[in-house]
């Protein structure tokens, strides 16, 4: 009833292969984009932008990156945090070497470095598979984390060992640093995230994306059908790390303002992996839903006791949040192991047949 494809005829191959062939999808997407670009900036206050929307978008992008590797190419990775860190440190070095360059370009370039490093750590994936590969990506995680601490060149030899984002202007607007307004940061983060998400939606339905999925479903069969496993896997590692790197750079440049090596620890890797799995492996929309769930839920939980009139210590709330998040993760895995993306599909089917379910 609400979601009907019937009667939408496609008269050309081009129309049939469009990215969003269904009218309702296009309308829905337009509504979401208008909300993101116009309604939220108009209505939201600074707190909402800085502690909910910007981290949510950054994590969504990271989840898209990991989803390409794990969800579409089937290579389990626990090194996401470190690859994000590579992006952040690369962007920091680039902005301090080229202080006059456009900071957005630098952030986008920083992904190239993490792509290169990701491809190097992806090399063992040709021989090592499944959980064994997860452990080799842990090697990347801990080795890179060590590099962030032990190589002072990376943080310009400053005493604190942390990287602090300098003030930079883009087209006359302060984009980074402590004085940048949340609104400016929000627009930059939103722009980059939307751009990369659309780019990936296109890549994933083309030859490259299909070859990734073939490798995921059965790599030997894919090899027999003429997919080169080395190139394909390495490309997945590189693209995934590129996106994670950009997300990591945005995390420090447009959200945190300063970062330490511990910001990119194994915990971050797990957080992103949770977003991917709860959102739905192999689904771009799922990455956004997973990020929303994992990031926004604890923020909300923090305020629930206050609203209900309980006066609890901050520590207690934090511990309870951990418990609730853990329990909810198990709950959702039991209810729907294929993630929110599958729940959304089920909901669409229900809308399609409503009000006559048979």
């Amino acid at each position: 009833m609400f979601y009907r494809e019937a009667g939408q005829f496609k008269t050309s191959y081009k129309a049939d292969q469009a990215l969003f062939p269904i009218l309702q999808d296009r309308v829905g997407l337009a509504v979401i984009l208008i909300t993101a670009f116009a309604v939220i900036p108009a209505l939201a206050n600074d707190f909402f932008l800085t502690s909910i929307m910007i981290p949510f978008l950054v994590f969504s992008l990271a989840a898209i990156g990991l989803n390409i590797l794990t969800g579409f190419c089937g290579q389990l990775s626990l090194g996401t945090g470190a690859f994000m860190g590579v992006g952040a440190y690369a962007a920091y070095k680039l902005t301090s070497i080229f202080p006059d360059a456009n900071v957005i370009v630098m952030v986008l370039l920083s992904g190239v470095f993490s792509a290169a490093i990701g491809a190097v750590f992806g090399l063992p994936s040709l021989r090592i598979k499944g959980l064994y590969l997860a452990v080799t990506t842990l090697a990347a995680q801990f080795f890179l984390e060590w590099c962030f601490i032990r190589i002072p060149w990376l943080y310009n030899y400053n005493a604190s060992g942390a990287i602090e984002v300098p003030r930079r202007e883009v087209f006359g607007i302060i984009a980074t640093g402590a004085e940048a307004t949340p609104l400016a940061r929000y627009f930059i983060v939103l722009g980059i995230t939307v751009l990369i998400a659309f780019l990936m939606a296109n890549v994933l339905r083309g030859r490259i994306g299909r070859s990734w999925m073939m490798i995921r479903d059965m790599d030997i069969a894919a090899e027999l059908m003429g997919i080169r496993p080395l190139q394909t896997k390495l490309m997945a590692f590189a693209v995934s790390s590129y996106i994670c790197g950009v997300a990591g750079a945005m995390m420090v440049f447009f959200w945190l303002n300063a970062a330490e090596p511990s910001s990119y620890s194994i915990r971050l890797s797990f957080q992103v992996l949770f977003m991917v799995i709860l959102g739905g492996l192999g689904s771009l929309g799922g990455a956004f839903m997973g990020a929303a769930f994992i990031w926004i839920l604890p923020v909300i939980l923090k305020f629930v006791p206050g609203l209900l009139g309980f006066d609890l210590a901050a520590e207690t709330v934090e511990h309870a949040t951990f418990m609730i998040v853990g329990a909810l993760i198990i709950f959702f895995l039991i209810v729907e192991p294929h993630g929110f993306a599958r729940l959304w599909q089920i909901a669409k089917q229900k809308l399609r047949v409503w009000p006559f379910p048979y």
Binding site: V135, F143, W146, L224, M323, I330, L333, I334
Partner: protein
């Protein structure tokens, strides 16, 4: 530079044998403890094909429960028994609430579920016992403290902590007991049957649910022993979680399904890590302990993708 890498460390080993022996001993103890954590992983992986990420946090949780009970006035031995009871309840609960509804799901989903369990246990442990590190009740449990020094004529001395010796002895006892349990008892045979083939085991009347609860309980006991030992060496705190990650390279070195593999893998990682850190770590600024284990495992894996003792992976279309 080449001299520093290839010759100098060995010269040092020869010139200061006491220091070298001390390093070896440290590596041995660390390896034993890694092996104990890995043992918990192997038990559960063998019987249910679940990669139990929560093993590390179960170690912390068991240690915290023990210390926490003792702090609240429960005598040490009673606290030990109660903790064993708590691990039993935990095992039953996990089997009932997490494992049973997730039968037949892909392994990554099961892995995620155990990570969810990790989050839950972290929150629960901190909620009940508080987040600050605690002192392990070593003396009350009758574990030896103190140390013995061995002298080598005029070439120096090696100091052995009694608690480390106790850890090694307990590890050996535990592995032997598990070996006997697996090979000689009725339940042990059922466990091996489940490990070989779930459906075949079901068809001869073995209850999967019961076996899983037992395996999780056994892993809980291993976690408790590990928790006591690690706790006695440092504090009982959630920092131990990081140590659990070290069990992963141990596991892949030994192969996910092999108990002797876990022990050998643990020792290789323990020795490799300590020797690497103390003789070669200085060249790159130290602290390489945090990742050396993974690199060692990675190198081994490149030559044997299924680990040292793992079952050969055969892929068919």
């Amino acid at each position: 530079m080449l001299y520093d890498i290839f010759i100098d460390p060995f010269v040092q080993m020869y010139q200061m044998p006491d220091f070298f022996l001390q390093v070896l001993w440290e590596g041995f103890v660390a390896g034993i403890l890694y092996a104990l954590i890995a043992l918990g992983f192997v038990l559960i992986f063998k019987a249910s094909g679940v990669f139990n990420f929560a093993q590390g946090i179960m170690v912390v949780f068991a240690g915290l429960t023990l210390v926490g009970l003792n702090e609240n006035g429960v005598p040490a031995y009673l606290a030990l028994i109660l903790t064993i009871g708590v691990m039993g309840v935990l095992a039953y609960g996990v089997e009932r609430v997490v494992m049973r509804p997730l039968v037949n799901q892909p392994e990554i989903i099961l892995l995620m579920a155990t990570i969810g369990l990790t989050y839950f246990l972290v929150g629960f442990g901190e909620f009940v016992f508080g987040g600050e590190p605690k002192q392990m009740i070593t003396e009350q449990l009758g574990l030896p403290t103190g140390s013995t020094a061995f002298e080598f004529g005029d070439r120096g001395l090696v100091i052995l902590q009694h608690i480390d010796i106790a850890a090694a002895v307990i590890a050996v006892v535990m592995v032997t007991a598990l070996g006997v349990f697996f090979n000689k008892t009725r339940i042990g045979r059922a466990l091996r049957a489940v490990a070989d083939d779930h459906q075949a085991a079901l068809s001869v009347g073995i209850s999967l649910n019961q076996i899983w609860a037992i395996v999780w309980f056994a892993a809980g006991l291993v976690a408790l022993a590990t928790g006591i030992m690690w706790g006695a060496r440092s504090d009982v705190s959630f920092a131990l979680e990081i140590v659990a990650f070290k069990a992963l390279p141990v596991l892949i070195l030994g192969g996910f399904t092999s108990i002797p593999g876990a022990i050998v893998g643990g020792l290789i990682i323990g020795f490799g890590e300590k020797i690497g850190e103390l003789y070669w770590g200085g060249l790159v600024g130290g602290g390489i302990e945090s990742w050396l284990a993974y690199i060692i495992a990675l190198i081994f894996l490149l030559f044997r993708p299924q680990g040292l003792f793992g079952e050969r992976i055969i892929e068919r279309i």
